[in-house]
Symmetry: D2
Subunit: 336 residues, 4 copies
C-alpha cells in the first residue's frame, strides 16, 4: 500500500512510498482510510517543531476517517465494515484533562494516518456519525473536538449566552456551529469581509472586522448592551488576550486554544481582578468527549466546512495551502 512519509524533518522530504500493509494486533483495528484532514500541527511536526528525536520516517497527520477491514484479537468495539474516525490522543479515553499517562499523539510520536491503510487502537477510535461521509468525518478529531471541549467542558455554554469567536479557521468554524446548535448568540471576528459574509451565512449573529475595529473587544461588548460577552474563544494569543478581556462581562471567561499571532500574552492584573475573569486552556479532548460530540452531531446534522479538497497524490499541495490558511478544513480524499 501507499503512504506519505518523510525520511527527515523537512516537508520537502515527504514522499509517496510503497510499504507493506500493517496488521491489526491485539486490541487494534485495521482501517482503510477514506479521507484525511490537515492541521497546523502536522506541519510543525514535519519541520521538527515537536523535537527531532522520534523514529524516522515520520508519517504525518492524525485525523482520518475510514472503514474497518480487519480487527485484532480481543476487539469488541468494532466489526469489519464499521466506519470509524481516528482520535489524536488514542490513550486518552476519559476525563476533561489529558494526564501524562494518556500521552502519545498520532502523527508524532505515534505513526500518522496519511496512508491507504492504518492501524488504530480500537479503544482510541470512535464510530463515524451516520450522516457524514469520510471527507466530512475526517475533519472532526482536532478541530471539532477542540471547539466542543472549549464550550462544553470548559465554559459550560448555555442557551442565551453570547460568545466571541476569533477568526475563521477550523476550530473557529466548529465553535460557531456548536454555539449556534446550543442556542447561543455568536460574534465572529476576522480581518476579511468576505470571510465575515461567509460566517454570517453559517449563522453568525454578528461579525466584526478587527482591522476596521481594532478595539473589537469593546465593539463586542457594545453588541451586548454594554454588559459584556460570556465567553471568548481566543486562538491568536498576544495582545488579543487583553482585548478578549475587554469584551467580557464581569466573571466572563476566555478559552485560549491557539497562538496564531503570538506565542505569549501579557495581562495587567488589576483590571483582570476587577473583571473577576477566568482563563481556560485546553488541548483537544478525550475519547468519551469525542463520542458525546458525535451524539450531538447526529442530532444537529451539522455539516463541517471543507475549505478545499485534494487527491491523495496531491498531498504536498495540501500542505502548501495549510501554510496560507483556508476557510474551513483542508481535506485529502483517497479516491477520486
Amino acid at each position: 500500500m501507499w503512504r506519505w512519509q518523510a525520511t527527515e524533518y523537512s516537508p520537502e522530504s515527504l514522499a509517496l512510498t510503497d510499504v507493506k500493509s500493517p496488521i491489526a494486533g491485539p486490541g487494534q483495528i485495521l482501517v482503510r482510510v477514506g479521507a484525511v484532514s490537515l492541521n497546523y500541527r502536522d506541519k510543525v511536526a514535519l519541520e521538527g517543531g515537536f523535537g527531532t528525536g522520534h523514529a524516522l520516517p515520520v508519517v504525518p497527520c492524525s485525523d482520518a476517517a475510514g472503514t474497518v477491514v480487519a480487527v485484532g484479537a480481543g476487539v469488541h468495539r468494532f466489526r469489519i465494515g464499521d466506519r470509524v474516525i481516528s482520535h489524536l490522543a488514542p490513550r486518552w479515553l476519559h476525563g476533561s484533562v489529558r494526564l501524562p499517562e494518556d500521552d502519545g499523539l498520532l502523527g508524532i510520536p505515534l505513526e500518522g494516518v496519511l496512508a491507504e491503510q492504518i492501524v488504530l487502537s480500537a479503544e482510541g477510535a470512535v464510530a463515524t456519525p451516520r450522516y457524514m461521509d469520510d471527507r466530512e468525518a475526517c475533519t472532526l478529531p482536532i478541530a471539532a473536538l477542540t471547539a466542543w471541549c472549549a464550550w462544553f467542558e470548559r465554559c459550560h455554554l448555555q442557551p442565551g449566552q453570547t460568545v466571541v469567536i476569533q477568526g475563521t479557521g477550523g476550530v473557529a468554524l466548529f465553535a460557531l456551529q456548536f454555539a449556534e446548535m446550543a442556542g447561543a448568540c455568536t460574534i465572529v471576528t476576522s480581518s476579511d469581509n468576505q470571510k465575515l459574509e461567509r460566517v454570517s451565512a453559517l449563522g453568525a449573529r454578528h461579525t466584526i472586522n478587527y482591522r476596521l475595529e481594532p478595539r473589537w473587544g469593546l465593539a463586542a461588548k457594545a453588541l451586548t448592551e454594554g454588559v459584556g460577552v460570556d465567553h471568548v474563544l481566543n486562538v491568536a494569543g498576544g495582545a488579543s488576550v487583553m482585548e478578549s478581556l475587554s469584551a467580557c462581562r464581569a466573571g466572563g471567561s476566555i478559552v485560549i486554544a491557539g497562538l496564531l499571532e503570538d506565542a505569549e500574552f501579557t495581562l495587567p492584573i488589576l483590571p483582570f481582578i476587577l473583571q473577576q475573569g477566568t482563563i481556560h486552556t485546553l488541548s483537544v479532548g478525550s475519547r468519551d468527549a469525542f463520542e458525546a460530540m458525535n451524539r450531538a452531531l447526529e442530532i444537529s446534522e451539522i455539516k463541517p466546512v471543507i475549505g478545499r479538497e485534494f487527491l491523495f497524490s496531491e498531498a504536498k499541495a495540501a500542505f502548501d495551502l495549510l501554510e496560507r490558511g483556508a476557510f474551513g478544513k483542508i481535506v485529502i480524499r483517497m479516491s477520486s
Copy 2:
C-alpha cells in the same frame, strides 16, 4: 377598572368587578395588562387548596404581560412604555432555590393579575422579549420558567443528550422547545396520537403513546440503543416515576415537576441504587433565571404554543377549559 375577583373560595364566586385603579408605590410599577395565562395552580387557589385564611377577595392568576403606564419612586429598572412580564415569586431574585425569605406568590397570597391594571414590584418583573406580543409573553412565568430551570439549573442539559418529556401540557411543550433549542434529542409521551403528531410537528424526534406502550420507559430506553436516556421530565407522579427510572441510563436523572396523576410516588431502593440515579424537584425559578431564559428566547425566537385564547369577559370559560386541559397554554387577552 375591571378585574376578576372571588369573594369566597369557590370558582363560582368569580365575578368581574369594577374597582379603583391601583397606584404604583415606591419600587413598584403600574402595568396595563395585555394578556394573562392560566395555570392549574390558579384553580387550586380559587378552590382553597392553598388554604382559606388569606384575605378576600381573591384576584386569581399570576402570569401576565403588559405595558408600564406609571412607575413609583426609586424605580430604575423600567420606564413608562416598557413592556414587562410578571414573575410568580416576585421576591425571588437570585439563586436556584427559593428560600423562605423569598416567599410570596402572585395569586395567593399576593394579589393576582387577572385585571386591566396591576401593580408589580419593579425588581420582581422582567422585560418582555422583543419578538413576542403580550399573548405569547404571558405564557412564560410559570410554564416556560419551570421547563427552563428543569433543564438548565437542575439537569445541566447538554447538546447530544436525550430527554423524555411526559405529556403535552404547558411545561412539557416548553421543555420540548427548549431541549430542541439546546441540541438535545427529544422523546415525548402522551396517550393521544393526535397530540403526538402535533409535538412531532414541533420538533420532537420520537413519540410514544403510553396507552399502547405501558412500558414506555423501556420503549424510550430502546430508542437509545439500550443505553437509556439522560433526563426525564416527570409531571405525572405515581407509578410513572418508576417507569421514568426504567428509561434512564446509569446515572440518569428525573425531574419531578408535577403530580397530575398521583400525589405521591414509591420507588424500590435497590434498583434505584444500582441505577445510581438522581431525582430533582423544582418550583419555578428566580427572576435572574427568568432573564437568562429570555435572553435564550431572543436568540431562538421560540413561539409559545397557545392552546386556546379567550376574551377578558370569557375568563370563566377559560377556567372551565383549564379543568379539561389543552394542548399548550390557555390565554386570556384583554382587548379583542
Copy 3:
C-alpha cells in the same frame, strides 16, 4: 493455600478449603492477604440474594488488604512488596457513575477475597495509605468509598454545611469522619444511647436518639436554627426518607445508600417540590475516586473504626456477627 468457599448458596456450606495458589496472569497481581472486612452484601451473596446462577464454589468477600507477592506481564502500577487494597468493582476505573461496561464485582460474580492469596487486576487495585496497617486498610473498599462518594461526588460537601448521618454502621462512621475532616457540622442518629456516646467521642457535634425523637428530622432541623440541614445520608429507606426530607433546608439533598429497614420508600410530591430537594443514590465509586479518597486519608490520618476482629479460622463467627451488626467494621485478620 487455604480459602473459605461455599459449594452451595447457603452460609452453612462455607468451609475452609485447601486449594492451589492462584497465579498472576497478564495485567494481574498476586496478593498475600493481610486482612479482610465483611459487608452485608457478602451475606446476601452467600444466601443467593444476587442470583444462584454463578459458578460454584462461591469465595465470599470483596474487601481485602495485603502485599503484592508476584506481578503478571505488563504490570507497571505495582511491584513486589507494595501494599495494596482490592476494589469492589475492579473494572470501574473512572467517572462518578458505574457504566454497564464496568460490570463485575468481587465476591459475586468475580471470585472473592477471603483467602490467603488472591489475584487482582493491577488496574483495579489501589495503593494502601502509608499510615494504615492491613486491618485498617481492608475496611475501605465499600464502606469508606461509599461515604466518600456520597459527600464529595454527589453532595459536593463544603466546610460549614450541616449533615445528618443515619446510624453507626460502617458507611455511617466513615461519613462522620469524612464530614468532620471536611469542616462540616455533623448530626448522627441512632436508637442506642451508648452508640451515640461513641460517635460523640469520634467528633459528632450533635446526636439524636430516634426512638426518643421519632421526628428526628424536625429535631435535626431545629439544631440548625430552623433552616434545615444541607445533606442527609440515608441508609434505612422506608419512612425515614420522608423524615430525611423534613430535616432538609430548601434545596437540600438526600443520598440514599442503603435499605436497612425497608426495601422501598414513598414520598408525597407536593412537599418534595416545595422543598426543591434532590435525592441522589450511588453504588460505591471508581478506582480514581478510591485514590482521591486515599490522598485525603493520608493527610487527615483518619483511623477506621473496627468493631470487632476475628482470626481467619473464625470467619463463620464473623458472619454471624454481621447478622447482628457492629459499631464499625468487622475485620478478619490472616495472622494472629
Copy 4:
C-alpha cells in the same frame, strides 16, 4: 464621636476629628465599633490610587466589627445588641461575581469605618461568629473572604488536594487555615525562614523558601511525587505566575488575588495549553459567601492571626506598619 478622616488624598492629612454621631436611616444599623483591621487598599485609597474625584474627607478602612446600638426603619436582620461585621461591598449580596449593579465599596467611594460609630446597610452586614471577639472578627471582611472564595467558589477545593499558598500576608494565612480545615495538603512559600516556621506551627505541611529555591514551583511539584499541585493562590503576580504554572498538575488552577510584586504577568501559550490549566481571579465575595464562611468558622473555630494591635489613637502608626507588612492582620482596637 471621634473618627479618623483625611481632608486630602495623602496619608499625612489623616487626623482624628470630632464629628456628630451618624444616624441609622431606613434599612440601616448604627454600630459601635469594637475593632478595625487594615488592608493594603486602605493605603492606596488614601493616596488617591482609586481616583481623587470622591467627596472629601475620606474616612478610611472597610473592615470593622462591633455592636448594633440602633436600627433604622424596616430592619429585620439585626436587633440592638447584636454583634456584626461590615462587608466591603455592602450591595453585593448574592452570586460568585460582583456585577456592576453591586458596586460601592466601603472606604472609597462609600464612607469608611475607622470611627467610633458607623452606619451600615443591614443587608450588607453579617453576624459575628459567636466564638470571636471584635479584634478577631474585624479581620474577616477582605482577607478571610478572599481566601474563602478563592478555595470554595473558584477552585472547589476538596479534601486530599494539594495547594500552594504564596506568602504570609492576611489572605495567605486565612488560605492556609481554610485549606487545613478542608482536609487539603498545604505548601507555603516565603523568603523568610522565621515566617515559614510560624506557618508550620499553624499547620502548613510543607514550606519553601523561594529565595533559596527560586524554582519553588518545581520544588512544590516534587513534593507531590511529580504529579503537580491542584491549586496555587498567587498574590505576587509577575514572573511568579509562570512559576505557579510550573507547580501545577495537568488541569491545575491558579487563583490570582494580588499584585504585590508586579502589576502584570506574562505567560507563554504553548506550555499553558499543554498544561490545560485555568487561571481564576476574584475580588472578595458576596454577603452570602461571607455568611457561608462564618458557618464554617463556627464549626472549626479558627483563630485569625493578628500580627499587631494598635489603639484607636495610634492609627497612623498602624498605617506605617501596613507599608512594611506584618505576619497576619494589623488591627486597631477602640478601647484599651
